[in-house]
Symmetry: C2
Subunit: 417 residues, 2 copies
Amino acid sequence: MPAGSNFPAVDGDRLWRSLMDLAAIGATPKGGVCRLALTDEDRRAREMFVEWARAAGCTVRVDPIGNIFARRAGRDPARPAVMTGSHIDTQPTGGKFDGNYGVLAGLEVLRRLNDLDIDTEAPVEVVVWTNEEGSRFVPVMMGSAVFAGAVALDDARAARDGDGISVGDALDRIGFAGPPCERPAIDSYFEAHIEQGPVLEDAGQTIGVVTGALGQRWFDCEVTGFEAHAGPTPMELRRDALQAAAVLMRRVVEIALVHAPHARGTVGQVQVHPNSRNVIPGGVIFSVDFRAPDDAMLDAMEQAFREAMSVVAIDHKVDVALRETSRFAALRFDAGCVAEVAAAARDLGVGAMEIVSGAGHDAIHIATCAPSAMIFVPCAGGISHNELEDADPVDLAAGANILLRCILNRARVVERG
Amino acid sequence: MPAGSNFPAVDGDRLWRSLMDLAAIGATPKGGVCRLALTDEDRRAREMFVEWARAAGCTVRVDPIGNIFARRAGRDPARPAVMTGSHIDTQPTGGKFDGNYGVLAGLEVLRRLNDLDIDTEAPVEVVVWTNEEGSRFVPVMMGSAVFAGAVALDDARAARDGDGISVGDALDRIGFAGPPCERPAIDSYFEAHIEQGPVLEDAGQTIGVVTGALGQRWFDCEVTGFEAHAGPTPMELRRDALQAAAVLMRRVVEIALVHAPHARGTVGQVQVHPNSRNVIPGGVIFSVDFRAPDDAMLDAMEQAFREAMSVVAIDHKVDVALRETSRFAALRFDAGCVAEVAAAARDLGVGAMEIVSGAGHDAIHIATCAPSAMIFVPCAGGISHNELEDADPVDLAAGANILLRCILNRARVVERG
């Protein structure tokens, strides 16, 4: 294992150029990327990745849900692979770095190993997971969920976008539905990613050693009042669904603040019926997104919200119903892999701090079938899922160096004769 | 003038049948009516009205904005007409009675005068005003506004629906753009209408003697925060536009309650950006509808809301802007016409109470160019702008009798030789 000073650092310029080349596919006028899963843009980006991987000497395999595995052989083909990767689909008004960074940092690691003729005992694989964003097809993190067995392949292929096109048809059309295969054994999985939040930047740290991920519970809350004409209906006779919903929307945030600093509560989506300016709303559906570092806290948050629902239903003479739409248990990443990331940062002299991921990532699924950890780097202003998303090339290179170090340690370097 | 006991009461069954026949045009499966202004359904309903009016011996004239005037001649053609009417366009999920009742109550008055061979000194006109609802084209109450000179004909014709079709093109297409003409002198205008609120039903009264209309101020309130990913963004670093908007939406109602019982405050329409469940909303636009019986109260309400905006902008680190979209001064109807309605109810022994209209009506515009008043009858549960809208045939006939009495008094009955 090379010492810190002799460490074969990645080529940060090459990494940056690859990021910019990939970002040209689906580039938006405002400097972002629109590359929804399984569109022609996604196909072109996949083809570019496959071409680069093959040029780096990898063998490329595609599984039935379209996950792409680029494998750099190890000395011992029997050993389970050390895996890294992320996704290259984006939000409709997404940025250049979310997902793409993890994939291209992995590719840069392979290229650097090639530059230096470094062989590893274990194979190293860079993976592109299908449809992480969930913008076009739900569920989110679809490719890693199918890989980990959390979602059945047939269910995933049957998911349809707003135009009625299924994942299966879209995969077939772009030519990325591979043949069935057994899930390979995995030594470990490391995913590099921009933080997508402001914590590292605020703390002035370069590396986030991700110890786990917040648990998530997503709901639709439906309030049913009574639609009536805004002018002639006296205030005291109203059953205004939006006023009741406004109280509950505030409660979502208040409940998160009770469990500061790690809990989160967000209402992102609101649908008002009939949504006419002179009609008292008869119905409102809004999303509730609770996140917390442990499931007991999530239980308490959900319970507090259900109690608020009961009070508001009586106070406002409305019906309130809650429907869970998604749930992820709080997760702690593998202690060994997390320690590997922390040690790499220490050995390379890069400022690092422990952090808990508030967002969902493919690593959350992979952690259920292999020892896993994540490496965060800052993004400007914490802005992500936004065309303004930006990151410092120096930070991106630092994260890739941590990834390289972790991979070298897990895959074992072979000294050339 | 006939005495109360000999009063030539309207034919309530005929009125009801006409209401049901008209309601068949644009009938919805839930028992309501969808007959948006200047659609084919509106055209068919207009043609049915014209046919009925001609069968009742009327001459029919259409003005350039599509208002239909059905005139029953008086003995003295030089006298200004006594006018009545309302509208036959509906909300997308509207009912059978809103507007339609005022038009068909007027038609029933003419039919009853014919039955009994009663001549009047002054002509009597029944008017169908164009696009009262404002669902397809804004502004609302368009036909009466153009008639009264509150909106220029060219501006009204240039208004476009969501598909980009102008009022002018739609009028030409359905054949209801009449030739230019001077606005005729009007003796008085009486409009019968369902209350569209629950006050009469609650009070157990049959007739609302409408003394005036609440003043209205409508606004769009725009809150601008900062869009960010819901998971990784700590609560204390958020600039959540929806949370700020929720506080302000509550304030709209709280401000109305301060000015109870006649003030109203409603948020009917909300638009959230980007409206994605795991993105902290960066922008929200919501409607504000304030109504009050006098303009000083409206000033105080608007002022209180602007103060709340300033506080919320600071507390939530957002920008808040308010744009007025519509304004009607509070209105008192003509004392003589209001007294006529009250006297008719008293003479006919029908339970009546004074009431202030919370909704906009064509009468509000006509009141600016002729002595005007309105006659309200109850609707079931106060429900209107709803497919469930319903009314009691007995109440509808009672309201038409009041209308008949007012018209006879103003137009002067001629005893036949």
